[in-house]
Symmetry: C2
Subunit: 96 residues, 2 copies
DNA sequence: CGTACTTTTGACGAATTAGTCCAAACAATA
DNA sequence: TATTGTTTGGACTAATTCGTCAAAAGTACG
């Protein structure tokens, strides 16, 4: 199970960026970003645009990864998650 | 936008149950349930089985309502929520 | 090895959130 | 309107989460 933190770390290391740089862009302490990458803390959705820019990832892909991790970590053990997601999609679509 | 709290309240009133009864089943204070129904507090997923039983709703339907409310309230404003949910569904399906 | 840089750890206080308790407000009805 | 039961609000405490900071640990390289 890949976490959002691992995803961030992989990409950051691909680019050879230090935590310090990315954390500065996010305006948070280096230690917090370190913890986020190791899943000791959670990223907020407000961080996504900056993360996308800094790590040179499409905002869409970044959001998708975030959403996946968020849902699976909070709701992953529910019995009817699949149905719940399908229903949520229906709701979204029908009120576009 | 219907909240999970409204959903619970509607059903409870349909059955003519007082907060006191349902709260007792959940082993929480009446005032907390009142707040949950008015969206001042949030229900936890641990409450779902008891809520389903007490309010005589299929656990599946209860979970689905919970999931919808949870996702929409936390992630509702994201630009690519739809894609995120689709991707999450794919992930779930592919590792069944 | 020594130096400089990066990352991790943990102590600490601040802020947020959850729960208890009880009194006040509200509702229904005799 | 009195009485009884229901619901809400707010004060208070407890628990959880969040961020800062600095020291320790790890890494690379002269």
């Amino acid at each position: 199970m890949n976490s959002f933190g691992e995803y961030l770390r992989n990409r950051r290391e691909q680019l050879g960026l230090p935590l310090r740089k990315v954390a500065a862009e996010l305006d948070i302490d280096t230690s917090i970003l370190s913890k986020i990458e190791r899943s000791e803390r959670v990223a907020t959705k407000e961080m996504l645009p900056t993360l996308a820019k800094t790590l040179e990832i499409q905002e869409k892909e970044m959001e998708i990864e975030f959403i996946k991790a968020f849902i699976l970590s909070d709701l992953g053990e529910l019995k009817f998650l699949k149905s719940g997601l399908e229903e949520t999609l229906n709701t979204i679509k029908s009120r576009k």
